[in-house]
């Protein structure tokens, strides 16, 4: 495959170009070693489908979401107002992001501070590309695999999006199954509300261990996620049970890339 050159907003602006979408990579997408692979997969898909997009690169910063969920409203708003200024400078109107937490913050919370955008989660965007025939999955790649989807709280309950990630998985033509606690009844991975950045309070087990049990009980070969924190929690949970050989944890974008052979 040819080398992909990443379109950075400042370069594009210097050339007088303004892309249709801003791809908001997010901190996990930029720094988390495992989730960097998801970012790479998603960018491959964007290029494959010929999407007009740009990203902020070194100008990107935290949306402030983890600070807000941890009670630090001051820091959240400083981040948010800074981001809104940056996005204004590039006339950004449409944002795609792989992180449901960034998605929720842009979509639901930035409007209160004057930032109004059309915000799309990558599961929704990939569904659109699949529906339009711009990403054609090879039905043989996953035909003998069973995939179970874990609903991220901020995509599912938080924003009512249960269908898009499942539509993307359906395009893979794999076998699918569901956990008993699914969709609006899904159990959290344990990382939301800034838990990702601290130790859990004392209890009798970790939330991700509880959820991992449920994943393993389905007998699925692959647990698909659509959130960087869910990925960390489930990957850790599966490793903790020493099941990483039997059950793989992939983001839906990675599954599409595998299916397309990119």
């Amino acid at each position: 495959m040819e080398k992909i050159s990443i379109p950075v907003m400042s370069d594009l602006a210097a050339r007088g170009e303004s892309p249709e979408y801003l791809f908001w990579v997010g901190c996990a997408g930029a720094f988390d070693e495992r989730y960097q692979k998801v970012t790479r997969a998603f960018v491959k898909l964007l290029h494959h489908a010929g999407v007009s997009y740009g990203l902020l690169g070194k100008e990107e910063t935290c949306t402030g979401d983890p600070a807000r969920r941890a009670g630090n409203e001051m820091l959240f708003q400083m981040q948010a107002l800074t981001v809104i200024e940056t996005l204004k400078a590039y006339n950004v109107t449409k944002i795609i992001t792989c992180c449901p937490h960034c998605f929720n913050t842009f979509k639901n919370e930035y409007p209160d501070l004057g930032g109004h955008y059309e915000v799309v989660h990558h599961s929704q965007f990939l569904r659109k590309l699949v529906d339009e025939g711009r990403l054609k999955a090879d039905p043989s790649v996953f035909s003998d695999k069973t995939i179970v989807f874990h609903d991220p709280c901020y995509l599912g309950r938080g924003n009512g999006e249960y269908a898009s990630p499942r539509a993307v998985i359906a395009a893979l033509r794999s076998k699918t199954t569901e956990m008993p606690r699914t969709r609006s009844k899904a159990l959290c991975c344990g990382a939301g509300g800034a838990q990702m950045f601290k130790e859990a309070e004392p209890g009798n087990r970790e939330v991700n261990a509880e959820r991992t049990e449920e994943v393993l009980a389905t007998g699925a070969d692959i647990v698909a996620t659509a959130c960087p924190f869910c990925m960390t929690m489930l990957t850790d949970g599966i490793k903790f049970r020493d099941k990483q050989e039997r059950v793989k944890n992939y983001d839906i974008a990675e599954l599409l890339v595998q299916s397309l052979g990119l």
Partner: protein, 429 residues
């Protein structure tokens, strides 16, 4: 005449006691913070679907169906109760019978529902007393809560027994010319052998028992978890309309941040006459919004929230139900003092003394609790307001979160990576 007089005295007594209780509770609302309400059209839709249609409660299918039957039954039976009050005051019998087919419909459905409710309540009672339903337990559930539930169920059961008793004896007393339709009581009545004298006596007994139970129930409700009979429908009407993922913005902070970020005002003194906000976040009852307090009055302690809470399931101290049970109890404790003196301080506070930081930090804001609540209580928002107090007033975040804050401040990410490395993932793509 004597019956009318007695009835009117009892009715006035009931209304006075009820008014006294409601006035006391209404006074507590004066202590709370504002909560703006708009979009009435959408609210009516939500109320019809969630409250009248009982949509949320069906998420637990079996008990959900039984609850819905009791609720819908109460709606038609309440129309009959209104007639009974009119009858009692005016000395008439079946005063609403002139409404014709509507009367037949209300009486017939009320009669059937009385037996349906009896069966449902029996099931609930057996489950309460003998069943080991996990969500009925928990640190916030005292012995009192169990008896509170059982007594309310018992009253409802007797309300239905007496209603059936009224219907049966009424049909038997006027076999050829009774008003209304009573499908089940007519059948039961046929199998009953009793003299006219006995029927008259029992009709009076059931009638008075029914009406006195209604009056007693109305005055017990505000002191029990069954207050939801009155508060849950308005509470659903006042549901938060934004997606569950949304957290409300703190305007007071926005003002400060904007001033800090604007070079023209960043180093200026605070403008004269503008009082600083009293407090960031929620520390005690005087900081909650009136909707938070209404939530606490509407909470039925069903525990659906706690039963789906990932923190609670995995043995952490947090129980979303406890947050609202505590708020209600704390208002009862501190409210009277605050009403006398706005600076009243009993040396305690809701956050820390009653709800611990450990509970608040265990929340993953996953919104499973808010999703499940049949009467649209939003727990995570209040939990977050309490975290805001801990962080912004006490600077008391867990150490790891303070590290996360300084990472965001210094390098724009919750982890300690230099901003210049933000495109590292794209190397060799």
């Amino acid at each position: 005449m004597l019956k009318q007089l007695v009835f009117i005295i009892v009715l006035l007594l009931t209304i006075s006691v009820f008014a006294f209780t409601i006035r006391r509770i209404a006074g507590f609302f004066r202590l709370t913070a504002p909560f703006p309400v708009s979009d009435w059209g959408r609210r009516i839709q939500i109320m019809l679907k969630v409250a009248i249609g009982q949509s949320r409660i069906f998420r637990f299918p079996v008990t959900g169906l039984l609850h819905a039957l009791v609720f819908w039954g109460f709606l038609v039976i309440t129309l009959g109760s209104i007639e009974m009050v009119i009858d009692g005051v005016s000395g008439l019998e079946r005063s609403m019978a002139f409404t014709g087919w509507f009367y037949d419909f209300v009486m017939a459905s009320g009669d059937i529902m009385a037996y349906v409710i009896m069966a449902s309540i029996l099931f609930f009672m057996v489950r309460r007393i003998f069943g080991a339903v996990k969500r009925f337990g928990g640190i916030e559930m005292q012995k009192k809560s169990k008896w509170d539930a059982v007594i309310a169920l018992l009253i409802i059961f007797m309300l239905m027994v007496s209603l059936a008793g009224i219907n049966i004896t009424y049909v038997r007393l006027h076999p050829n010319d009774y008003e209304g339709v009573f499908p089940l009581s007519a059948i039961v009545g046929e199998r009953l052998s009793a003299t006219v004298y006995q029927l008259h006596a029992w009709h009076e007994i059931w009638w008075w028992m029914h009406i006195l139970l209604i009056f007693a129930f109305a005055n017990i409700l505000p002191y029990s978890k069954h207050f939801h009979v009155f508060t849950s429908v308005p509470n659903v009407f006042l549901s938060r309309l934004e997606p569950l993922g949304y957290l409300p913005n703190m305007e007071s902070v926005t003002k400060e941040v904007r001033m800090m970020m604007d070079p023209a005002t960043a180093f200026a003194a605070a403008p004269e006459g503008e009082a600083a906000p009293v407090r960031f976040g929620v520390k005690d009852v005087e900081d909650v919004s009136w909707k938070n307090y209404l939530d606490s009055l509407a909470c039925t302690e069903c525990g659906r929230c706690t039963s789906v809470c990932p923190a609670n399931i995995t043995g952490k101290k947090l129980s979303p139900r406890k947050i609202f049970v505590d708020l209600r109890a704390r208002m009862k404790e501190k409210g009277p003092g605050l009403l006398k003196d706005p600076n009243f301080d009993d040396g305690k506070s809701l956050v820390r003394d009653i709800i611990t930081a450990e509970e608040l930090w265990a929340c993953t804001t996953c919104n499973a609790c808010a999703q499940e609540c049949p009467i649209s209580i939003n727990h995570p928002t209040l939990i977050l307001d309490m975290r805001r107090y801990l962080v912004m007033e006490e600077s008391a975040a867990p150490a790891a979160l303070n590290t996360m804050f300084s990472n965001i401040e210094n390098n724009g990410a919750p982890w300690q990576y230099p901003q210049d490395d933000r495109l590292k993932w794209a190397e060799n793509l």
